[in-house]
Symmetry: D2
Subunit: 361 residues, 4 copies
């Protein structure tokens, strides 16, 4: 790759936007050339727009700090400046659907952190190690929508990363997993900033009922199949999740139980599956791919959010506590970083996959 | 009752012991007349022994503060001072077995917070709302051991209260529950003092593998049956628990899934069961019995440890988030106060039950 | 007092308003008869308006739950329902000045938690143990403003209670204190709800520059003198405060240094002053007056917010760590509950003082 | 430097020891060749001895993991393996004095994190940016003690770094600072592991009286002068500190007030002093020297422990909130990382200074 691909960040002043800015500094393939946010910030230099809102350690990278912030509705400017946009703005569902479609119609690849498009049957939810083949819907999507070069892909909710990756490894090795129960212990940064009030979570835990539907629908679609011009969810996979907000800055934990149809594998076999798993990003050595993506440990005092969330630069999933269980058959605990793997980092890996497959040139 | 029953606290300087001291202040039936602790504290006035270790709000009650602290091995003094002892000292398992037996042999009723005797088949684990009938083992226990008036009963680990009480209500109403999955989110005070290092739990969660066996064995025995002179655990009840230490001062939460054999009840039926449940302590209006013992709420933002742990003076269990689930069938979240219902308070309620049934006179 | 005095709460749905509702349940002198909030809540029953916003343990008192919520601008309704209002609504400074004046003009005693009127020279900042004599400005205030029965008094910012009370005790005993340095470690509830983001304060501390001016101006006025129809601040008292938000739910701590002009008292003399201090509320045994108001301890591990904030039902100040210091001369640490003594409780005590002095009949 | 200098870590399994192991990985001048700990760990490979105690993110460096752990009393082995030891073992004061002297007598440079030797008048407390000239006591120390090549230097308590460095910058620029007041808000890791109980600091703050004497004595000695063969503390500098443990993982904050004799500088002058300060480590570009060492900000929302503690790889001090104050004259807030700058990192910088000055060859 001789020249970097110009990319844009929609919602650049928000928490996820700030993560994109940090992670894309010195990226070998991408260069941030377009920043957009709400009308309120538009027209300012990024460094000035972000001044009181920057929540990352250190300061914004100097080059990006000097970029102007555009109005996120200004797709015409985006079109001139970049070929791919990371979409992390905050609008109503209808406005989001509309605006992301405008970016695609204007010829840009849209990788969205928003939930609006996730359950549309011709838009895939991509986890690069899990379902890269679902990118094959793109030509059909473009044809149906009448888009020339642009398209839309999404990444899943941050809450499902921790267990979907281990489950994918098991499924790819041939195990027929049909039932999953998870308790998701979700970190504060998953609510954005300001997010949860300190009065809610100090010496306390908060139920998160609104996250629980996503924990059900999204994995079914992630494990779905391309049939013609739409993705059909795997309705045979039953999942029940209880989601709880915990006083942890970063790092979502999942306490998982699962059942396997047919012959019941030994723990040692499952350990081998976890240890040996490699997805397409690992095989192709994509720039943001963690090596390995699953870190399996027998140490019963792990995973722990603060000690394990940064494994693989925050892109790996740490798995521990694996054992047989008298109900459902098996259990483990998994942990991943919700703003890295679970948000900006996961989307950047998806963008790398799109480039490596020729969808973005 | 004209005169209060004299009771002792073994391990009176520890955290659970301090809870006993607080809860028994002004108790209508019991008067603290004997305090015992390790050799280190023995011989001092309680107020002086506890001076740097008192962790409860306010100060120790004045009358108790003036009592002498005896060596916990001094059963002869105990025998003269009290008829019932709450046992919360810290020793090895063998020493605990031995010393609690000595108290029983010396004629005292022993209600133990220690785990040593819990799995002995002629010692019951009592939850007064759940299995008061298991007290009927006492005569057999006394006969077998050659004890005259003394005996030993235990209370369960603090981690199982939250889900065993709701499950008991369901079972008593006739539902055949055969499988349970729980994630137990356990508070810091469950580890005693000093317990967990602050460095472990600030911005972090810690796996608790050692608690998980108790979460399995104890409920099976609590739901067991008296057969001759021993209690037979209910091996048909399958339970799998994942236990996690969370940065919450007091209040254990359980995220519970369960399955019912046969006809599947509607949620409204289960709600009615929870709302209408009364155990023996409620019916007999025992002094420490919460009215009601189960507090059911449809508010999806509850239970929360800090806001709900003190319901019913810390003796009630708050249940919420009840719903059907695609795996196992049903789920709910329950919360109880681990040092009140889960330790000293639960044991005092057991003592009240023993008195009301005539086992302590 | 044969009949209770009808009182109103302005801003009844907010955090301070909820504290008033809780604290006034079963008050011997006052009965809540009027609740007001923003237009948004007006017209509903309080129980329904507060449903998703109630942050206190347990539920709102039943009788108050059935009261209608009025629009806070509806002074005409207030006038019919109550004689005294606790003002804790949230508006701009100008709107606050205007609306509180309307309540006074309509004949009601206004006790305000808002800062708007605090620095007006004919409105006193009252701390009942410190400056009850400043209530004597009321007739002059009424005359100047043309108000018949109504008037306005304020209570100070929650951040100054901890050190102003001990300093007042020292000044009343004759010590000439001329310089004070404090580091104020302020609890989360001081910011209201939602207040501080959990992401700001977990594993972190936050500077609070906006509180620092109040820490300077308000004590000068609290220690001021009535001269004619205005209160003149004590400009000779020099105070410098550094305010920091700490991850503590309730309880503001102040690390205080002070200097004394002239003869330097021994520590034992200062201890005696703290131990013997009684203000007017203590002497008159007002219903909310803590006995004593200053709790002095030599235990070097106190004060601690969680263990000491509820001393005297949250109305006392706990003082410890008193010693001579090589700079300024003396130091101590003091703690008070910021939403009880520091907000609703302090204002209720002021209301009791007003009643006992005949300003509210 | 052609070859790395072999160094040892005494107390290698403790928290500070683990920090040394991490920080010395890939150090350009030093190579860890000797690890020592208590008898309990002696004889094992480091990887095995540390297995359950490793509290740093990731794993121990592979090469160090394979080193054997020696008994810390085995100075004979140390002598063969290294020329300089970082001393962070835990023993009584007398044992520490004795053992560190044995290392020096055996010819090794001892850089100690222990407090035992800090107040000995022929042992300097070194902060490389502050008082490098006090190293000149080394020949006199050797002569008096009869040591050939070995010697002992110490580094200060982690609690004093935050304010001593800014004050040093002011003093070096010619300001005569005579009085300092600080409130030190000290992080959990300052107590080692397990250190503070979680029950002590969740929703709480804890007084730290035992730290307050160090906050007084050590700066006086750090700013002292070499007179003949001893260091004379600067008794004219008056310091009073209130130390409080706060629920922050890493990063000690100091709220500082100070007075200046004579002409009172403008804030802009002080800002310039902070911005332009360079010490010997910066001038000589020592490997661990942060550039710059003082990070001054006008942003009133900083310093914050979590966002600023890692500035300059945890070796810089962040200063903010600088302003004139009505008492003492000036105030600011400063923050430094207590286990990096405040413990292992500060000692490594001292070791680099010793090498650059020829005391270790």
């Amino acid at each position: 790759m001789n020249e970097k691909i110009p990319v844009g960040i929609l919602g650049a002043t928000g928490m996820v936007g700030q993560n994109y800015v940090s992670l894309l500094e010195n990226h070998p393939w991408f260069e941030v050339t377009f920043l957009a946010a709400s009308e309120h910030s538009a027209g300012q230099e990024y460094a000035s727009a972000i001044k009181k809102r920057w929540r990352m350690p250190g300061k914004p990278p100097e080059a990006v700090g000097k970029l102007p912030v555009f109005n996120v509705k200004d797709t015409a400017s985006a079109q001139k400046k970049c070929r791919l946009v990371f979409s992390a703005f905050s609008m109503s569902k209808n406005e989001t659907l509309q605006l992301e479609r405008e970016y695609a119609a204007a010829g840009m690849a849209v990788i969205s952190n928003n939930s609006a498009h996730r359950l549309k049957d011709n838009v895939p939810i991509i986890m690069p190690e899990v379902n890269p083949e679902l990118l094959e819907i793109i030509p059909g999507q473009q044809q149906k929508e009448g888009w020339n070069k642009g398209f839309i892909v999404t990444k899943p909710n941050c809450g499902v990363q921790s267990y979907v990756l281990p489950v994918a490894a098991l499924k790819k090795s041939g195990l027929k997993i049909d039932q999953i129960i998870t308790t998701n212990l979700q970190a504060l940064s998953g609510a954005g900033y300001p997010g949860q009030s300190a009065l809610d979570v100090l010496d306390n835990l908060i139920p998160l009922p609104s996250e629980e539907e996503k924990a059900f629908n999204e994995p079914q679609k992630i494990f779905g199949k391309l049939e013609g011009d739409r993705i059909v969810s795997d309705q045979n996979l039953k999942i029940s999740s209880n989601c709880v907000r915990v006083p942890v800055i970063d790092g979502h934990s999942s306490c998982v139980w699962f059942s396997v149809q047919g012959a019941q594998p030994e723990i040692a076999e499952i350990e081998d599956i976890f240890r040996n798993f490699r997805g397409v990003p690992q095989e192709q050595n994509l720039p943001s791919a963690p090596q390995p993506v699953l870190r399996y440990t027998r140490d019963p005092s792990h995973p722990q959010p603060r000690l394990d969330r940064n494994a693989g630069n925050g892109m790996a999933v740490t798995i521990g506590r694996l054992q047989k269980a008298p109900v459902l058959g098996y259990r483990f605990t998994a942990l991943s970083h919700n703003t890295l793997r679970g948000a900006a980092g996961g989307a950047i890996l998806t963008a790398e996959l799109l480039v490596s497959r020729g969808y973005v040139a």
